[in-house]
Amino acid sequence: MKIKLAKSILTAALPLFLIASCGGDDSSVTDESAEMPATGRCGDESKLGDTLNFYNWADYIDPQVLTDFETECGVAVTMGTYTSNQELIAKVQAGNSGYSLVIPTDYAAEQMIETGLAQKLDMSLIPNAVNLDPKQMGLYYDKDNEYTLPYQYSTTGIAYNSKSFDTPPTSWSALFDKNEHCNKSSILDDQYEAVGAALVYLGYSYSSLDPVAHEKARDLLIAARDCISAFDSANFIGNLASGEVVIAESWGFAAGIARLDNPDVKFVIPDEGGIMWQDNFMIPVDAPDAYTAHVFINYMLEADVGAKITEFILGFTPNLEAAKLLSTDYLALINDGGIAVTDDVRKRLSPSEHGSSEVFSATWNAVTTSG
């Protein structure tokens, strides 16, 4: 009877185990029997680790790139994900996170560099850095690119379902003021993006620290809560595509992803202004395997890999060589959707430079705990 009962436990466990073993072994792959082409894209393979812990935004890299890197260089990349810069900073700040490569946004990178969380990059290990667009280098948070290199950049504006609007929205008021699309709208769940948008709508600057400005922004957002269905930085993409949300504060690339499923989704930088921001490669100072991280950065800066990444994320690539390889589908998606940054649009964009977090988080806290 003992055997019978033990069997019943195993029967329950077995299906899951079988599925797991079918799924491809990701323990360290050094397959001596197969001829691994010396691609030269893997640095000094003797110094590479077996695994690399990579902390990235959710859905912010083509999973195929991770598989390819493993096949080419024998490193199994384990990716953890976060949905906000606050989460990233907190994780790295706590120390000993176990991650060797992270992708902070510009202002977060600034904070991490200032608090000594980043280590200087060894550029000799990243020869592909020459591919990078000089316009995206040397930005305010890392003027000499000692600690970061650009990964992807995009904008923040408004994404909307063109079928629900007779005339396309051109102002933040379409989100913040009561309108017919109540309960079908969302703003980003981020103290800087949400409060910043309110500030800009009210005529201040995105990173204003003026207490009067913040009070007004706070009141605006609290009043807008009745109409806005969610503060959400993740689900809104799917919601835009499905029509659950018809207007949302959104990033350019997110609008692109929504457009894949629903071509009616378009994007616009409002008249009052939007932001252009950039996500960057960074290696934490306590990274377990900085060497492999460097090699992986260099790998991702290859033209073909960069193109793959951008075709997946649908942001803008700072890699000039990769930009040459982008497909016409991608270009059509970006240009027809209002996501592309024309000279006219560029005038309305401010750089993503955020002021003190305490002021913004106090305002946002007041908004999220009200009502």
Partner: protein
């Protein structure tokens, strides 16, 4: 005690030791640590500085002139307790008939089948169950699809305090039905039958005889459900869309994003005190009744 008894006591002690050590090390001591952290200063890397400070409690209880209520934290503590209390009552109201119904089945097959039906949700992952509700009621989900097919307008169900409250009840139901059922099964039928024979109507029987008999089960279920509901994390996160947060969300935020561990610990201390009072009281009540 002679040596035989000594040895016996030592043997029993040895049997208990691993579990006790484990629970003390992983439950009791960490709780004490949290209590200590609440009286320390917030640090940066490393999260606390071993410098005594009341900052956390001051921040927690400081009235915020700009907020519409006392302050954000107290608001959420009060809101979570209020919702949990209401949810407990609603869950009780729904569970009592069901538990009575099951206990009243004369066929053992029916009784067992119904019990299995109640236990299955109890054993299913809470995450799956709550996600199922979210999937069901999403704007692009089945219910709205059916509404549309029937020619009605799509309705917004999620991201409201209402659905979070409903989610609390939905999650808590299995946890209330089972203790209630156990208490009802144990209740002495003779007393109930005697009351009926003496001419009491169903309502009188219910309130003056039945409920007191199963009081222990009711209390146990209520306390379990209250603690479960007041500290819920998944329900407000998955069903509330950030618009109906509860106290667990604040605690998580302090520990993960805001990295203010002393403040998070202070809030946790309040939550623990709530739960402790409840369970201590229910245990005492149960012992008295026994």
């Amino acid at each position: 005690m002679n040596t035989v008894e000594h040895r016996e006591q030592r043997r029993l002690f040895g049997l208990r030791a691993p579990a006790v050590v484990l629970v003390v090390a992983l439950y009791l001591l960490p709780l004490v640590l949290i209590l200590a952290y609440s009286f320390l200063e917030s640090g940066r890397a490393g999260s606390v500085q071993w410098v005594p400070s009341l900052d956390a409690y001051r921040e927690l209880l400081r009235p915020d002139p700009r907020a519409s209520t006392y302050n954000g934290y107290v608001t959420l503590l009060v809101r979570s307790s209020w919702w949990a209390a209401l949810a407990t009552l609603v869950t009780l109201a729904l569970s009592l008939p069901l538990a009575t119904f099951i206990a009243g089945r004369r066929s053992t097959l029916a009784k067992n089948a119904l019990l299995v039906a109640v236990v299955i949700p109890f054993w299913t992952s809470m995450l799956v169950r709550i996600y199922a509700v979210r999937f069901l009621l999403a704007n692009g989900g089945p219910v709205n699809g059916w509404l549309e097919a029937l020619g009605l307008e799509r309705r917004v169900f999620l991201n409201t305090p209402g659905i979070v409250f409903a989610g609390l009840v939905y999650t808590a139901l299995p946890f209330m039905v089972l203790p209630l059922y156990a208490a009802i099964e144990r209740a002495d039928r003779n007393v109930i039958n005697a009351a009926r024979d003496l001419g009491a109507n169903p309502f009188q029987v219910f309130f003056t005889v039945f409920v007191p008999l199963v009081r222990a089960g009711v209390i146990a279920g209520c306390m379990l459900v209250f603690v479960l509901s007041v500290s819920q994390y998944l329900v407000p996160t998955l069903l509330g869309g950030g618009k109906a947060n509860m106290i667990a969300n604040v605690i998580e935020n302090q520990f993960n994003e805001s990295q203010n561990w002393p403040l998070g610990s202070a809030i946790s201390v309040f939550l623990v005190v709530f739960s402790l009072i409840g369970t201590w009281w229910s245990v005492r009540f149960d012992e008295e009744t026994n």
